[in-house]
Amino acid sequence: MNKLIIMLSTIFIATLAVDANAQALSNKWKMQLGYNLSAPQGSFKNDFISNTSFKGAIGEISYAINPKFALGVQSGYQDYYQKYGRQVYHTQANETISAVVSNSMEIIPVLLKGTFSPMGDQASLIKPYVSLGAGLNLVNYRQYLGEFPGSDASGTFAAQAGAGVMVPFSKLNNNTGFKLGATYNYGAYNKNNIENLNNIGVNAGFIFNLK
């Protein structure tokens, strides 16, 4: 957790520094860095991990095609974990295992993402946006029976729909600000007795001009 705080502080300072250098340049390239929490849904929640993950981050670089539309690449990291108390499992015909099961899922999404901001360049205290993305989840599945691990890494299809608001730091530069949003993430997955990696994410971070 300390690592997370240090990293987010670094991101914030970097945001201000980069922005100071970029004031005079074009506003077309932007970067967003932020914190993300994620609540598993569906089979992901029912069959593997029901705990909300508070260990996550997102980063996005986007290019403004026009003041209202931007196209970008988003990545990030989310770490899910849950420990289940000792239970008895029937694993083969006559075989029974009593174990404490620990489930762990790490997801690194890489998405191509379009964002629509209906207010465009207009000065405003709050600027809403909606977004759609699709790409790949890099998935690292781990399940421990007691201290004995099983793991499986894979790449699977991912899609995302999101909405949120951007709060500009100042009226003079309304491309730099605080961003708060929510996403619904579809994650294809059909193995290890899990049918999908769907989750709802809530993110908070900073957006700033890159170039």
Binding site: D79, I97, S104, G146
Partner: protein, 211 residues
């Protein structure tokens, strides 16, 4: 363009940095939680017809395929715990010279040379470790028969096994069938209370009480 590459690199770096935040599930386990208890049985054995038992007077220690008999205080603890659980399941303890219906072997298994034990290999060599004559001269011509297989279980440290051998039906079976096996794997097997550990194996095997 160079600047863009730096920031794309930054996103990937950020994702990689966060992977270092991943919780190690094993570090979140107590010694007790690290252990798993696996049982398996021969479905053709009618446990209700087996009423008397005897437990071997020492523990077989298998190290790297070599077997010796030992009896430490911990070994005696596991033997006593096994006797108590067998009695609790309704079996009557008799001297092995009184032709018990089942013989019970308690074993410690280690493999220090490769660091891995594959249980199927251990049971494949069962006859090399346990002399059928131990249970009486009438079993001298018989080999051991493991009627069920385990999945690919392998371990890096010691394991404890309890095997219930069907002596009563050896003639009809043309060999000594291993009717039930309990395996304990994980940390602290030989330092924690044997009674609780052996109890787990019997509690998850209610068919042993089918009489």
């Amino acid at each position: 363009m160079k600047r863009k590459n730096v920031f794309f690199g930054g996103i990937i770096g950020l994702a990689l940095a966060f992977t270092g935040c991943s919780k190690d599930p094993i570090s979140n386990l107590t010694q007790d939680e690290s252990r798993i208890y696996i049982t398996n049985f021969d479905s053709t054995t009618n446990f209700s017809t087996l009423t008397t038992f005897s437990v071997s007077d020492s523990v077989l220690v298998v190290r790297n395929g070599q077997a010796t008999k030992e009896l430490t205080a911990t070994d005696q603890g596991f033997i006593n715990a096994t006797i108590n659980q067998m009695k609790g399941a309704g079996y009557t303890q008799v001297n092995k010279s009184n032709n018990p219906d089942v013989g019970v072997n308690v074993s410690r298994i280690y493999n220090t040379s490769t660091g891995v034990i594959v249980y199927n290999n251990y049971y494949g060599g069962y006859g090399n470790y346990y002399d059928p004559y131990y249970w009486g001269s009438r079993y001298g011509g018989y080999g051991y028969n493991m009627p069920y297989g385990y999945a690919t279980y392998s371990i890096r440290e010691g394991a404890l096994t309890i095997d219930v051998l069907n002596l009563k039906d050896a003639n009809a079976n043309n060999g000594i069938k291993i009717a039930w096996t309990g395996l304990i794997r994980g940390s602290g097997i030989f330092s924690d209370d044997p009674n609780q550990q052996v109890k787990f194996l019997f509690d998850q095997s209610p068919y042993l009480k089918n009489r």
